[in-house]
Amino acid sequence: MGLDARQLNLWRLGIAAWLALETVLMAAMTASEGGLYKSWLDAPGTIGAITTRPWLIWLIAAVALGGIVDFARRRDGLLGGIIYLVAMAVLDRGFAAAHGTFGLRFYFSGLLLLGWIVGRIAARVLGLDPRRSPAERLEVERFAATAALALFTTAYVNACASKLLAPDLTWHDADHLRLVILSRMMPEGTLSHALQAFLVSHPNAVRFLNVYTLIIEGGAPLLLLGPRIRMVWGTLLLSFHLGVYLSLQIFWGSAIYLVTLLGFPWHRLPWLSARLGPAPAPLTAAPAASRARPLLVFAPLALALLALWLVPIEPLRNPVDTNPADGSTGMQLGARTDRVGPLHAGLPMSAGWQVETLHVTHDAIYAELRAGNTRHVTMGMALASNPSYGSLRDIGDLAIWYQPTDTAPEDFAPAVDALAAFLQTLAPEGQSVAAALQSAAQADGFDIELLQGAP
């Protein structure tokens, strides 16, 4: 990619600084929320224990910060980056337990660091040794930066692929995005409102944006092709983020910062260039990894991984199946159990559905607790990261919500009908279904006390 030493320094330090900031943010957000749900979070064991103990959260964050300082200071180190990634993976689980959703905005920088570390390892595997000479160290860092950028772009390609593979979305469906915009309309008189109003009343403009988004996201790997294309695509990505902010009020600060850092040749600014070290000397004996070896090592692995896309992974799309491997269920933390009172794994619903795992955790439940509300139990039936909820059934004081997954609500409805009927049988006419469920659950040793109280 033609990266010189000063640019590599800037990238490494810029990424490290951002990672440090995000570590503090994630720890603060987890610690401030986790303590509220102590009794509830005792259920998931280790993660619950971490999430409900602020000192432990900050200790993990301190370990992560130590790791990132090591990454920033040492151009040939591996351990600091690995420690950081492990610590943040634990912290991320705690964040998810406290907030009911994963902190995806922290993932962009994590992808970069992981790629950087993998790149350093791969360079060594291919025979480069950063301790042998400055030139070889530079080559290792180029390798690492390329790997980091490659992994970073997958965030965008994944977003593109998710839209392309969604069973009920097509690029010419303007109404989906128009509805999302309508739910996020800003007050009149603002620039955002003007743009939103224009888009809502012009479906063809929305269709154009659909296609524009797919092209920009899907083309993110072009960032790897060289400084000029990187600038062009970086600008396009920033325009995409600006558009998302103006039209949906969603600000992806992490992605915007990192694209800005990586997309443009800031190291050529004179005042910055001087601070990033001496001008790079020409490499008289430029080391290079054998071109044949990476091909032999990585090509079969890449093909094998991509071949997985040909394998249907339908079982993971079942919204009742809250298998931790299910990408569509988003949230996996909180209480996971095989039994909550009369509800248990294997309980047949109808139309072929059956309960796979009981999974009770959600922002809304926590919100209920925080607000001091005790009237309702809410059961998330099919969790996804999309914060759009539909209430399929209210059974007295118990609600069953459906959250969108790849399975359409109407296909899932028979299972909810059966579950609603089953829950209804727990309580005599006019009695609290939630209380009956709670009582039965406690008899099984599963404490859902904090989820609700008798009305």
């Binding site: 993976a89 992808l111 993998v118 965030a155 965008y156 990585f298 990408g327 919100a367």
Partner: protein, 137 residues
Amino acid sequence: MLALFLIAVGLTVPRVAGPHYPFARFHMFSQRWTTAPRLVVRDSSGGIDEVDAWAAWDCPEKVDLMRVDLCDDGSRHPEEAHKASDFINSRQRPLPAGTPVEVIRRLYSFPRPGGPPAVEDCVLLRCKASRRSGDGT
């Protein structure tokens, strides 16, 4: 080649193993919406505003906009309802001269693809409110 391999890793891991830091599918808004709910405040003239445009509130009791028996319109946005409840409860005080307002859930849909939006309102709450915290007493 390493870059291609890592791109394959980044695309495959979240699909097979689900979200694990730092891998995720980033599938925001990839599930189709058929309706869009929104909590807003309607005053007596029919004007619509955000909940936080009203600085002081006087409601009959503690506000809980997440109650499942309110507006069973098949759509709910708990995060928004929770934030609005918190906002109103934290600004409750007597407002004898406050403006009568309704907190409504406005549900948007498109009965005809590409056509104008249809709007359905459901009243969640009736209170008095003031746009400035110093007014209405």
